[in-house]
């Protein structure tokens, strides 16, 4: 009985390649962009080159950074609220099938309604624009987290529940020691989806809100640059949004890996 299936270690060479290949392709794409813009002498008001975008990013940083922080604050607060709300409501829902049945229509209605269509309503009701944006982003991020968490809490091996009951565990112990850990992979999936969606919703809701001036997010700067045909800044704002999205994805994936890599198949390299 000495056989074990420990995953094989990835060799250093492969690890380097795994990082190098995608980075190389990305660099190649940027070089191609630069080459196309300079070779065909594309005017900067149509497509600016990567160098120009970078320069704009640096010069316009005092304008773009506050906007980025506003968008980021809305995204992160919405995600945190969605995580808390989604997990708590999921726990309530799985306690009783009647609660679940009763709330089911609301869940479906809210989920199938394009949230952006509620934005005008929220803008009227909410005390200020940032709150309306926060509610929008929250609603969008909330449902994938709720849905994943409900699925996760229900995915527990019934025999394990029997085992806990055999040893006289109470409902709280079953929740904390069994159901929540078992739902972790689902929660992490919800976190990754919700994180990306919260950013998208924060931007789209700001488009709908049409907010302007100081204290506005990146979406306002995008629109402003569009009206002024300031293409370099438009691109710079876009790059900033993309980088934010990548950072959120990277961070949530890292958290998922950190929590799951010891035990869950989704976070373990396949053996070959």
């Amino acid at each position: 009985m000495s056989e074990t299936n420990r995953p094989p270690r990835i060799s250093t060479a492969e690890l380097v390649l795994r990082v190098l290949v995608p980075v190389l392709v990305l660099v190649l794409a940027i070089v191609a962009w630069h080459w196309a813009v300079t070779t065909y002498e594309v005017p900067r008001y149509i497509v600016p080159g990567p160098g120009e975008v970078w320069a704009t990013l640096c010069t316009d940083w005092p304008i773009l950074l506050p906007a980025l922080l506003v968008t980021l604050r809305i995204t992160v607060s919405a995600l945190v609220l969605a995580l808390i709300g989604g997990v708590l409501l999921a726990i309530v829902l799985v306690q009783s099938k009647w609660v679940e049945l009763a709330l089911f229509p609301f869940a479906v209605i809210l989920q199938v309604t394009p949230i952006i269509a509620i934005a005008p309503l929220l803008l009227i009701y909410a005390p200020d624009t940032p709150t309306a944006l926060l509610i929008c982003a929250f609603l969008v991020a909330f449902f994938p987290i709720l849905a994943n968490m409900v699925a996760g809490l229900k995915s527990v091996d019934h025999n394990l529940i029997d085992l806990f009951e055999l040893y006289g565990a109470n409902r709280l112990q079953i929740l904390l020691l069994l159901k929540l850990p078992a739902a972790m992979p689902y929660f992490m999936a919800g976190l990754r989806i919700g994180g990306g969606l919260a950013l998208i919703a924060a931007v789209v809701a700001e488009f709908a809100a049409g907010s302007a001036g100081k204290g506005s997010g990146l979406a306002f700067r995008l629109l402003e640059a569009q009206y002024r045909l300031n293409m370099p800044r438009l691109f710079a704002a876009l790059v900033l949004l993309t980088a934010t999205g990548v950072a959120i994805f990277g961070l949530t994936s890292f958290i998922a890996w950190l929590v799951l890599h010891r035990w869950h198949e989704s976070a373990v390299a396949r053996e070959r």
Partner: protein, 274 residues
């Protein structure tokens, strides 16, 4: 291994020879399935009792009834020696080994085995010592920090057995625990379970559909009819002979397997008509 420690359990009260007695128990599930009908069985302390029968005959139902995981629809389950006889045995006095290892993948081997002690509120230091002891007894001393996904099927089942025994139960229920394992692993585990049974003196109720497994392990075999399950026949086996590889080829073993096979065949025929 510390056999002396494992065997250290209080003597039962005289006169309470049976650990559990089911009388005329029936079970109808919510979907209308009649799993057991008029099932009566008394299990004496220290027995290695096999419940043998075809798939779906209610063997597992009987085990779950004894464990208190489900309630009987009719009939009565008595616990002659229990201080809280109406509710069965105190938590931790019954160990359960499922058909699957049923481990928590997010906990290490030691964490899985420690679970029953944790739920009982056993102090951490004592729990740790008992986990180490029982892991040694099932041959997994070196794998305490491993995670279930790193183990083979047989090793996972050992963890499951260790978890069931860590509270030093007086009754161990095993529901076709080795059905999914290969023959060689299964034979090894059969020997190990027998050794643990002799060391600890625990009463075992072992559900199986294998004639050979039941004949090899048991001190008593109860043959059940197809659904709805009833007791068709009982065989008491001589356990004085050492159970090992030689026993598998002995005349005594052949005779027992033949008797059990006949009993099972008769049970199938009678059940078909019912």
């Amino acid at each position: 291994m510390s056999q002396a420690h494992l065997a250290d359990r209080p003597e039962q009260a005289p006169g309470a020879r049976d650990i559990v007695a089911l009388s005329a128990v029936s079970k109808i599930y919510a979907n209308g399935t009649l799993a057991l009908k008029g099932f009566s069985l008394a299990v004496e302390r220290g027995a290695f009792l096999s419940l043998l029968g075809p798939s779906g005959c209610g063997k597992s139902t009987a085990l779950r009834l004894i464990a208190g995981l489900i309630a009987p629809s009719a009939g009565h389950i008595a616990w002659p020696s229990s201080s809280i006889a109406r509710r069965g045995l105190p938590a931790g006095e019954i160990g359960f080994v499922f058909q699957e290892p049923t481990l928590m993948p997010w906990r290490s081997v030691a964490g899985n085995v420690a679970l029953p002690l944790m739920l009982k509120g056993v102090p951490e230091a004592e729990a740790e010592a008992r986990v180490t002891e029982i892991l040694g007894a099932v041959g997994l001393a070196d794998f305490a920090e491993a995670y279930p996904r790193e183990l083979s099927g047989g090793m996972k089942m050992r963890v499951s057995i260790a978890r069931a025994l860590v509270t030093r139960p007086s009754l161990l229920l095993m529901d076709e625990p080795f059905a999914a394992l290969d023959e060689i692993t299964r034979q090894k585990l059969n020997d190990d379970v027998l050794a643990l049974w002799r060391q600890t003196g625990v009463t075992i109720i072992f559900v199986t559909h294998s004639v050979f497994e039941s004949a090899y392990l048991s001190s008593r075999i109860v043959v059940m009819t197809p659904r709805p399950g009833r007791v068709h026949a009982e065989l008491t086996l001589d356990t004085s002979a050492e159970r090992n590889a030689d026993y598998r080829t002995s005349e005594a073993y052949r005779v027992v397997t033949q008797q059990v096979s006949w009993a099972l065949k008769a049970a199938m025929d009678s059940g078909g008509a019912a």
